[in-house]
């Protein structure tokens, strides 16, 4: 390498080849998943080696012998081995038992949801993550998602003929903190380093924006299998700013299928057939319903025969009939969209383009509703099933290879704390740009109160029990004071992935407590460690590799910084210092070519020591100049 390489501040220099890993974009969908890869801002979805579809159905089959199958092959087993197949698991990400009971009827599978889990005490335990009984295994949604991610990683590695370790993974904008954390945990289990969680609509906008060089306001209407998202983005000068987002985490094309199933069952009942539906029949019916829905995209009418318990009936379903079945759901998406426009103080006619995402936007009634609201035909020249993965891949390339474009996202749901009487005090409002850090002061309400419960919630409602509980922790060690005298500052930090960290501090004494919010419904550290051990023999090796990479990155930064300083302040450098620094740099570079993290770190430390006399001279001069009333930065540049 050149001895002196000066980079523009803030611009990402290209990492050295040996450190540059392939990073892909993954759309981890409710019904289908897609993996894509971008080079030179050209994004391409990765297909099976034998060509074929880009889509990997998000369906996992767990065989009795422990074999795990993902995708088409697993979907084909839905009929015959219903109890060993899991689909639409995304709907359960970050969800607790209570949530699941309320949506249980709409879940497209009938795996057992245990009331209590062996080894836990239901009375005292925190609400816990759902576990699924699949065949003879008990699995969390995180583990099932990890199996899907492993399959996508394998597909990418086969297509690219290289190891793939990093990815941008997309999540619905409306995903709360628990669901985001669950997604990150799943990636960890699958051996994927998440470069960034990106909101699906934002990724879709990126896919269109880069293609079209668009400026102005754009709406992204994303109706997937299980979730609905609507986002409003402003694109200007290469920056994609999310203005407002809204949605429903439990509304999607699966609900359309259910509406058809209900219609068929109702028709059979009218014929005097009282069906008892077991899990296998339910899955078969849903498959028929999906076929009907898809057929009605092209056709005005379809006739099907349904055979349950050896009673066959035929049904004729028209597009108009289907439109009526889903009218309420479509209307709900329209009213959420209007709310999002209102939030951003925007009228439908201000929107320059509407992007459609998700397979469910193929339904003509959905397209018509969107077109009528915005009074324009929506954009759909990128396949709505692939557009999110395409955007994610572009973002993965931007993060690893540098880019002129930037995504500025917002927090989708307000974050707050429980205060007296179960009322929520909002700390960060929804649609606030991230990353963000905000603090709020609270006080004690009893004389001598020595501890305070901090209960973090997410949602828009005023009462705690109507919002989602994210975490509880106790700030203890508050010195005895009169009620109202303590000053407790609670700080919320949300990173660029939309993940929250909360810290609390009693200001008068400095008593402090910090928690990375492990959602109430999340996986705890011990379970995570166990899962990693069980599922990944080479987990430790991966961790070592990551630390080694980090040591190299840090060492390289160190060398570049010293060299930049040597160039800038050459006149302060005497021959002894220069020789010592040069020797230390050479040794460090040799170590960096090797694999011993400890030696790299030690030699980086040695470089620090070798350059210290020079650094002190630079500081001395800086101080002298400052004292002389001169501005350091205006001198010598």
């Amino acid at each position: 390498m050149a001895l002196l390489t000066i980079h523009e501040p803030g611009q990402t220099p290209l990492p050295h080849e040996e450190e540059r890993k392939l990073a892909v974009g993954i759309d981890l969908g409710t019904t289908n998943s897609v993996v894509a890869m971008s080079r030179a801002e050209k994004s391409e979805v990765l297909r099976n080696p034998d060509g074929g579809s880009a889509i990997v159905p998000s369906v996992v089959h767990y065989a009795a012998d422990g074999t795990v199958t993902v995708g088409e092959a697993a979907r084909d087993l839905i009929d015959s081995e219903a109890s060993q197949v899991v689909s639409s698991v995304k709907r359960l990400m970050g969800r607790g038992l209570e949530d699941v009971k309320s949506v249980a009827g709409t879940l497209p599978y009938h795996v057992e949801i245990p009331e209590t889990v062996a080894g836990s005490d239901a009375a005292t335990a925190e609400p816990q993550m759902v576990r699924l009984n699949v065949g003879n295994r008990v699995l969390t949604p995180v583990e099932v998602s990890a199996d899907i991610l492993r399959a996508l990683k394998a597909r990418a590695e086969a297509a690219l003929e290289q190891d793939v370790e990093q990815a941008v993974i997309t999540v619905p904008a409306y995903f709360d903190d628990a669901a985001r954390t669950a997604t990150k945990d799943a990636a960890k289990l699958a051996g994927i380093e998440v470069l960034r969680l990106v909101n699906e609509p934002t990724a879709a906008a990126l896919a269109y924006g880069l293609d079209n060089g668009a400026e102005g306001l754009y709406a992204v209407y994303d109706l997937g299998g299980g979730t609905f998202d609507i986002s409003l983005l402003k694109m200007q000068k290469g920056v994609f700013q999310v203005k407002s987002t809204g949605g429903d985490a439990a509304l999607g094309g699966d609900d359309f299928d259910h509406a058809i199933v209900e219609h068929i069952l109702a028709a059979r009942k009218a014929d005097g057939i009282d069906d008892t539906i077991d899990s296998s029949a339910a899955k078969r019916l849903l498959k028929v319903a999906r076929a009907i829905k898809e057929a009605l995209t092209e056709r005005d009418q379809i006739d099907v025969a349904v055979d349950i318990n050896d009673r066959e009936t035929t049904h004729s379903i028209t597009r108009t009939g289907f439109d009526a079945m889903i009218a309420k759901m479509v209307a709900r998406t329209v009213s959420i969209t209007e709310q999002v426009l209102d939030d951003a103080d925007v009228l439908p006619e201000d929107v320059k383009g509407v992007v459609l995402v998700g397979g469910s936007t193929r339904v003509p009634a959905v397209r018509a509703a969107v077109a009528s609201l915005f009074e324009q035909d929506p954009l759909s020249n990128i396949d709505p099933d692939e557009v999110v993965a395409v955007g994610a891949a572009l973002q993965a390339e931007a993060l690893t290879g540098g880019s002129d474009n930037l995504l500025l996202d917002v927090i989708p749901l307000s974050l707050g704390l429980e205060t007296m009487g179960g009322i929520v005090e909002k700390v960060i409002d929804r649609n606030t740009p991230i990353p963000v850090a905000k603090g709020q002061e609270f006080t004690t309400y009893q004389d001598g109160q020595s501890a305070m419960m901090i209960h973090v919630v997410q949602g828009e409602r005023e009462m705690v029990d109507q919002c989602r509980s994210l975490a509880r922790f106790v700030l203890s060690g508050i010195p005895p004071m009169a009620a109202g005298a303590a000053r407790i500052r609670v700080t919320f930090q949300v990173d660029a992935d939309g993940l929250l960290t909360v810290s609390a501090r009693e200001e008068t004494t400095g008593t402090e407590q910090e928690v990375a919010v492990k959602p109430t419904y999340g996986i705890n550290e011990t379970d995570m460690a166990n899962m990693l051990r069980d599922s990944m023999v080479n987990a430790r090796g991966d961790m070592e590799l990551r630390l080694l990479t980090e040591a190299r990155v840090e060492a390289r930064r160190n060398i570049l910084a010293v060299q930049a300083a040597m160039k800038a302040d050459a006149e302060l450098l005497d021959a002894d210092d220069e020789g010592a620094i040069a020797a230390a740099v050479t040794e460090l570079e040799t170590a960096m070519a090797g694999d011993d993290r400890q030696i790299i770190n030690d030699l980086a430390e040695a470089l620090d020591t070798a350059s210290r006399p020079f650094a002190e001279k630079r500081m001395d001069r800086g101080i002298r100049r400052a004292l002389a009333g001169q501005n350091v930065n205006s001198v010598g540049t």
Binding site: L195, L406, L407, A437, E550, R557, D569
Partner: protein
């Protein structure tokens, strides 16, 4: 050199040690002029950050251009392949940049920020109640009018009226703050907050009506 790092060179707030190259660096610099490393956020007021005068009547479009330019350089997405320390610093810088922009963008938070800069605590903050009878009466009447409004047209009229009142009130806030009349500014800012909240509630009610 990016504009983001350039403008801080003129602030002259003294030096600190760059954590990366160990040399001197301006206390409010975003990046080290020598080695280019991102720095921890310094004590920089929001107006100075966007290179504009401390005037309530800000040119928010000009500020937004500055904001986007600085985000281009500071956002964590620019540091995805960098060391953990640089990632953390970029996170802090981007968060304080967001806070600065959000504060100046909203007229109420901008007014409150300017009052605090001048040592005046705004009203209606944490734990404080507002007891201006005229304002309370006005708020009550507006709320009743909104409750009575039964269709979209009626709500649209309310939204239009409230917006006009908010615009006028914002002008009064500007005059009071720029003229140093902080007592008046406190009251006016409270009223502006009420008016904006009312407009928001009216919009929400309209959306609810549309959904029903």
């Amino acid at each position: 050199m990016t504009a983001a790092s350039k403008h801080t060179a003129t602030t002259g707030n003294g030096n600190k040690i760059c954590w990366s190259c160990k040399g001197p660096v301006d206390a409010v610099a975003l990046f080290c002029d020598t080695c280019g490393a991102i720095q921890a956020p310094g004590q920089l007021d929001h107006f100075a950050r966007f290179e504009c005068a401390r005037d309530f009547n800000v040119d928010i479009d000009a500020i937004e251009i500055q904001y986007l330019k600085q985000q281009q350089a500071l956002h964590p997405d620019r540091f995805a392949t960098k060391s953990a320390r640089e990632k953390a610093l970029s996170q802090q810088q981007a968060a304080s940049l967001n806070e600065a922009f959000e504060t100046l963008k909203n007229p109420v938070s901008r007014a409150e920020y300017m009052m605090r800069m001048n040592g005046v605590e705004p009203e209606g903050g944490e734990g404080q109640t507002v007891n201006d009878p005229a304002l309370l009466m006005e708020a009550m009447e507006m709320r009743e009018a909104l409750d009575d409004a039964g269709d979209r047209a009626a709500i649209d009229t309310i939204i239009r009226d409230v917006r006009k009142m908010a615009r006028d009130c914002e002008k009064e806030v500007a005059t009071a703050i720029n003229g140093g009349a902080y007592d008046a500014a406190r009251k006016l800012t409270t009223r502006l907050r009420y008016l904006l909240k009312m407009a928001q509630e009216a919009r929400a009610k309209k959306a609810r009506l549309a959904a029903a």
